[in-house]
Symmetry: C2
């Protein structure tokens, strides 16, 4: 970014958190900025954005998770391992200085599910190079994350079509 | 889309409405869907998304507006003309059946500023082909638009960095 980068959080129950981050990424790459997206708790089901990303210069998306549902009460070891590796990777990428924007997609949920330690994420935010724009998404954003953030958008679900039996449509939700 | 398309609205004061729509567009094109974005009240200042769009297959973005600020109390004729042409173009594009997703970016603001008639937008929504996913963005979404929508996300501004004197950063906001 042009000399400084902020910490942005997209949280809340409504639709549009990951998509907002994707839009930010698309816009930033349009200006020639280098963007790195790390998706927590997501497997290859989200191939819409992966397919698009391949065709966009300066945009990288990697996923640390699997398509399966994570049990909040009792997450499996594989889910914790994935999240752990995602966080380690995030630290490297943010610190590398090679990227202008880093998106930690659904990291708030990984924290809420206690797959990764809050303290390490807070440290990652505090230690980020000045020029890196850092985007954190996912519902349940922790108050301490919000405290560190410069910009917080909370997306409220005003109306949702579940009542029509419409859910998880290809090309829209994933 | 796969047989049916919904009407989605992204509104509210917070950041992320246009970016959410861009993200939806990026994801949809990743699945091979054809996406058309019409931006109201925006001129070439938003070149980040324009530049990126050029490089994405099946994604078209056109702007009907200018970089200058529109006076809500007394919009200039050129602003009304732009919005009028944008709406006519939107009707054609939606009705053409050539696009799986059509984004009418900031159309809610164009309505709030009375640049275009509400009734025509309501008709456009009601008459859309079944398979078209229609996305309307912008704060001030009219209650009648919300009534017709299947999915409404309201983005609340929880925290904003204006207090730090940070505004309109290249690669982030445009």
């Amino acid at each position: 970014m042009d000399g400084f980068g902020l910490v942005q959080v997209y949280t809340g129950e409504g639709k549009g958190k990951t998509t907002a981050a994707l839009g930010l990424a698309l816009r930033a790459t349009g200006h020639g900025f280098r963007v790195y997206i790390i998706q927590f708790m997501k497997g290859r089901i989200n191939y819409g954005e992966l397919e698009s990303a391949k065709r966009i210069r300066n945009l990288t998306i990697v996923q640390f998770g699997r398509a399966e549902f994570v049990d909040k009460q009792k997450p499996e070891k594989i889910d914790i391992d994935y999240a752990r590796r995602g966080l380690d990777h995030a630290k490297e990428i943010v610190a590398s200085g090679k990227y202008d924007m880093v998106v930690l997609d659904e990291i708030n949920v990984a924290l809420e599910f206690k797959l990764i330690p809050l303290e390490e994420v807070l440290q990652l935010i505090k230690n980020k190079p000045k020029n890196v724009e850092l985007i954190l998404t996912g519902r349940y954003a922790h108050p301490k994350i919000l405290e560190l953030a410069d910009l917080v958008s909370e997306i409220k679900e005003v109306k949702h079509p579940y009542q029509k039996g419409i859910q998880g449509r290809r090309g829209i939700e994933y």
